[in-house]
């Protein structure tokens, strides 16, 4: 059986706290091949960042209960020793964080931080590592890398910092790259440049890329597949085409409706999602989304009692909803799509 490069199966990450068990990720499965991009979309608190840190093994030893399987290049990571997973971090899998200003150490130069990342996994002299760092900075489009390598993070602009962050993540040529809200902290024009850069580099390095965002717009351009998360669970999963042109989950509709566009003011949300994300301790019974779902009454109260299964609608397109496939499609075609397209 040919296995995908990254294969996550029934991943659960639960945190015991004084107030109760926080089920940040609750039965998540997906897979990703090299050269492909997966977008994980959801509001804050939906469990997407926890998922990414879980893959990197950064929850280990932190009191989290992790179950399920994470296969990376034929290796299972959940049961692997923390020390082994550490040697894979940075080398086989790397991460780009949301706010590069706080994610980079303020007291070390950009170069030193890249050199450090490189030298953990490569037994080379400082001089060689430094050359590599300069090379990487050049490849992510930082002008005058030989000079900038000795600059501190606070001396960079936001975009440059994120480029440096990417250079650091890519310094060991990872097979899997996870970008957690890579553009959220940047202004709009820079966002596009960074996304372009990431797409180019992904091709160049042939890595598997996971982009985590609350903004469908970001993943629209890059992703092959999209996974929509809500309350720690996947609510819709499919190809970018499936999710953008044939979305079937009311939450996805809401996300599409609140997608910012260059030609539209952010405030004009077409299909706003009322209410706020669910508490992960007291997850609402039944469908986690039902308190916010405009179509909740169409399920005869099923959504209040039973957790809907993630079911296949067509091909690899999966949706977790109590409404019937036909009902969802009808709603999309007749009510949602026209409104979205009216713009």
């Amino acid at each position: 059986m040919t296995q995908a490069h990254l294969d996550v199966r029934d991943l659960r990450i639960h945190f015991p706290t004084d107030d109760g068990l926080v089920k940040s990720v609750d039965g998540l499965s997906f897979s990703l091949d090299r050269g492909k991009t997966l977008g994980i979309v959801g509001e804050s608190g939906s469990g997407k960042s926890v998922t990414s840190l879980g893959i990197l093994g950064l929850h280990k030893g932190g009191g989290a209960k992790i179950s399920g399987e994470i296969w990376l290049d034929g290796e299972e990571l959940v049961t692997a020793s923390p020390e082994h997973v550490r040697t894979l971090r940075g080398k086989k899998m790397a991460m780009i964080f949301q706010d590069p200003l706080s994610a980079m150490h303020p007291f070390y130069t950009v170069g030193a931080q890249i050199i450090e990342a490189y030298r953990i996994h490569h037994d080379v002299s400082k001089k060689v590592a430094r050359k590599h760092a300069i090379d990487m900075l050049g490849r992510v489009g930082i002008p005058e890398p030989t000079r900038r390598v000795d600059a501190y993070p606070h001396e960079f602009s936001g975009g440059m910092r994120q480029r440096a962050m990417i250079a650091m993540a890519l310094s060991c040529d990872p097979e899997l790259l996870i970008a957690d809200e890579p553009t959220t902290a940047l202004d709009v024009t820079v966002q596009a440049q960074i996304l372009d850069l990431m797409r180019d580099l992904q091709r160049e390095f042939d890595s598997a890329l996971i982009i985590i965002t609350h903004d469908l717009g970001v993943v629209a351009e890059l992703s092959d597949d999209i996974l929509v998360m809500y309350g720690g669970k996947c609510v819709e999963y499919g190809t970018a085409e499936d999710v953008f042109y044939r979305p079937e989950h009311p939450y996805t509709w809401g996300l599409l409706g609140s997608m910012p566009r260059l030609d539209r003011e952010v405030s004009e949300r077409l299909l706003p999602i009322k209410g706020s994300p669910p508490s992960l301790i007291n997850v609402p019974p039944g469908c986690a989304f039902h308190p916010r779902c405009p179509y909740e009454e169409r399920t005869d109260g099923k959504s209040r009692s039973g957790v809907p299964e993630l079911t296949q609608t067509e091909g690899g397109h999966l949706v977790r909803c109590h409404m019937s496939k036909d009902e969802r499609r009808a709603l999309w075609e007749n009510e949602i799509k026209p409104v979205l397209e009216s713009q």
């Binding site: 840190l53 990197l56 950064l58 550490r86 040697t87 894979l88 971090r89 940075g90 080398k91 790397a94 991460m95 964080f97 706010d99 706080s102 994610a103 980079m104 150490h105 303020p106 007291f107 450090e116 990342a117 953990i120 996994h121 501190y152 606070h154 650091m168």
Partner: protein, 337 residues
């Protein structure tokens, strides 16, 4: 940078001048306002049944009859260009910086200050090494094992450390370790480093530990808080994501950030200590600057009081300057201007 330092040095000198004026005012002007005559000043420095004539002679010799401004001017002049001292049989040169002669022992103050500062410096350096190592490592471990038995007991001891006065811990440890167990030497047995380094360390061991205990407690608490904050920073997650071993993450990334405020506090604490660890020196009868200051004040020995105050103030001012300069080195985000 250079102009910054020059400006700060000028500021420091002005600061010392202000300190000298204030000290001078406290010991010379305030009593005058309260009604002290030159004779009243002089009467402190004569034998107990001295006649009025003796007192007047003394007032004249010590210059109490002159206006205060003249007395202050004479003091500053002595510091800047030196002065002369009549021993009765000869006139002795007191080279700059001359802080005058003790009203009681007739000894020049400046050599005393230099001599005493060796003791205080020895005390401060040794204690600082101990408290920084002990305090910071305890703080780090406490932060990493937050809520554990170690954390709770270490913080409990730290609380005791900052609350127990030195004359208490010092006396108890002297009685226990020195007089009863005989492990260490009793107070007042300071041996200079240049004489015998081993005896030097041995004679200071107990004062070091006692003084370090007081500070280590504070540093442990400070480090713990700093580490807890630092270890929650995003860059720690980044460091881990890079695959750094946990030790490197804690030391190079966490501790490095948590140390910044500690460096500042340390500079100030150390500067203050160099001005004399009054309680430790008194308890262990170490003839350092702190003990010198206490003795000078109890004896109303004004030249000594002025000298030691200025000397101590100079340490604090210099420490402040160094801390500010160091801060720019420690935290690259800080710009000096």
């Amino acid at each position: 940078m250079i102009t910054y330092i020059i400006r700060r040095v000028i500021g420091a000198v002005l600061m010392l001048l202000v300190v000298s004026v204030v000290t001078f005012a406290i010991f010379f002007l305030v009593p005058r306002i309260a009604g002290a005559t030159p004779e009243a000043f002089a009467s402190r420095y004569v034998g107990r049944t001295a006649s009025q004539e003796t007192i007047q002679l003394m007032a004249q010799r010590l210059g109490f009859n002159d206006p205060l401004a003249v007395q202050y001017g004479r003091f500053i002049k002595g510091v800047v260009v030196g002065s002369e001292y009549d021993t009765g049989t000869s006139v002795e040169k007191c080279p700059a910086p001359c802080f005058g002669y003790s009203f009681i022992t007739q000894q020049p103050v400046w050599p005393d200050l230099l001599d005493r500062s060796r003791v205080t410096l020895s005390l401060a350096v040794g204690a600082a090494v101990i408290w920084v190592i002990a305090g910071v490592s305890t703080g780090v471990l406490s932060a990493l094992k937050r809520g554990s038995f170690f954390d709770r007991s270490a913080m409990g001891i730290a609380l005791a450390g900052v609350s127990l006065p030195i004359f208490f811990t010092g006396m108890i440890s002297l009685v226990f370790f020195s007089y009863n167990l005989g492990w260490t030497v009793p107070g007042g047995t300071y041996v200079d480093l240049t004489v015998d380094p081993l005896q030097w360390a041995y004679s200071l061991l107990l004062p070091w530990i006692t003084l370090a205990f007081l500070f280590a407690a504070g540093y442990a608490r400070l480090t713990r808080a700093g580490m807890l904050e630092a270890m929650n920073e995003d860059y720690i997650r980044t460091a881990r994501a890079k695959g750094l071993p946990e030790r490197t993450v804690v030391v190079r990334h966490g501790l490095r950030a948590a140390l910044t405020p500690i460096v500042t506090i340390f500079g100030l604490d150390f500067g203050l200590l160099l001005g004399g660890a009054v309680l430790t020196e008194s308890t262990y009868s170490l003839n350092g600057l702190g003990k010198y200051a206490v003795d000078a004040i109890t004896n109303n020995d004004l030249p000594k009081v002025l000298g030691v105050t200025l000397f101590a103030a100079a340490f604090v001012v210099v420490a402040n300057l160094l801390v500010d300069l160091l801060y720019a080195v420690v935290d690259p985000r800080v710009r000096l201007s």
